[in-house]
């Protein structure tokens, strides 16, 4: 089992929120800046890696029951975004790695993509 704490170490990530939630299990992950895709294709408990730092990212994570959000490329969200995540119990991490590199590091750990593949009829 891989947890958020291990994800955090692998990505040299800083914890912005949810220090007490680092034992959360990470089963699968999704790297996206398009929240429409996250809403369409992910499953519950998926970890989201994104370069977007707006309120819609937190809303998407809240409504899709995502595990946590990792902001890539060192992008820091505003205070209002952190407050919104706090109200919804969503851990926030920030890593200086790019989206591709961060996803690659997690894949190397054994975390799979959610979804693995998208078929035309889905």
């Amino acid at each position: 089992m891989i947890n958020l704490n291990q994800v955090c170490s692998k990505l040299d990530a800083k914890i912005l929120l949810g220090e007490d939630q680092l034992d959360r299990e990470v089963i699968s992950a999704c790297g996206a800046d398009l929240m429409s895709d996250v809403l369409t294709f992910t499953k519950r408990k998926t970890l989201l890696l994104t370069g977007l730092t707006n309120i819609q990212v937190v809303r998407t994570a809240e409504l899709s029951d995502l595990c946590a959000i990792v902001f890539v490329r060192g992008k820091l969200p505003g205070k209002d975004i952190i407050e919104a995540a706090k109200a919804n119990d969503i851990p926030l991490l920030v890593t200086c790695y790019t989206l591709f590199e961060a996803c690659g590091r997690l894949y190397e750990m054994g975390i799979k993509g959610c979804p693995h593949k998208v078929f035309a009829d889905e």
Partner: protein, 148 residues
Amino acid sequence: MSDTKKMKVTYEVAPGDFERAGEASSGIKRLLQRIGIPAEVIRRIAIGTYEAEMNVIIHAGGGIVTAEISPDSTVIIVSDKGPGIADIELAKQEGWSTAPDYVRQMGFGAGMGLPNMIKCSDKLDIVSVVNQGTQITMLFYHVDKESK
């Protein structure tokens, strides 16, 4: 809930207010959680409602979101007095979008909204009249599809 008991909640969606976009969906999600609906079902309802809510904010200058919750199902009705959809079949196609660039920069407007509402719900009806408005009705049975 007893068999005869139904609940109805209504939210007003303010035009162009992206900061508050998703509040109606979030409120409905919390209510369903309190009632004890399965998490997978709540997730589908929340996502379907959020997609519709975003559409109303992006395209229609605000509208009304209503949830009618019965023991076995939830009906979400999202209505607006916006410009309407000229070609509904086209709007149902993945990737078809008329959203402006600033919406795309927020991570939306990819032409996935209506297709995703269809995917999440058990039944979707859409009535739209150009220059008068659009009403989307989504039916969700309280049946966990993942554990089947």
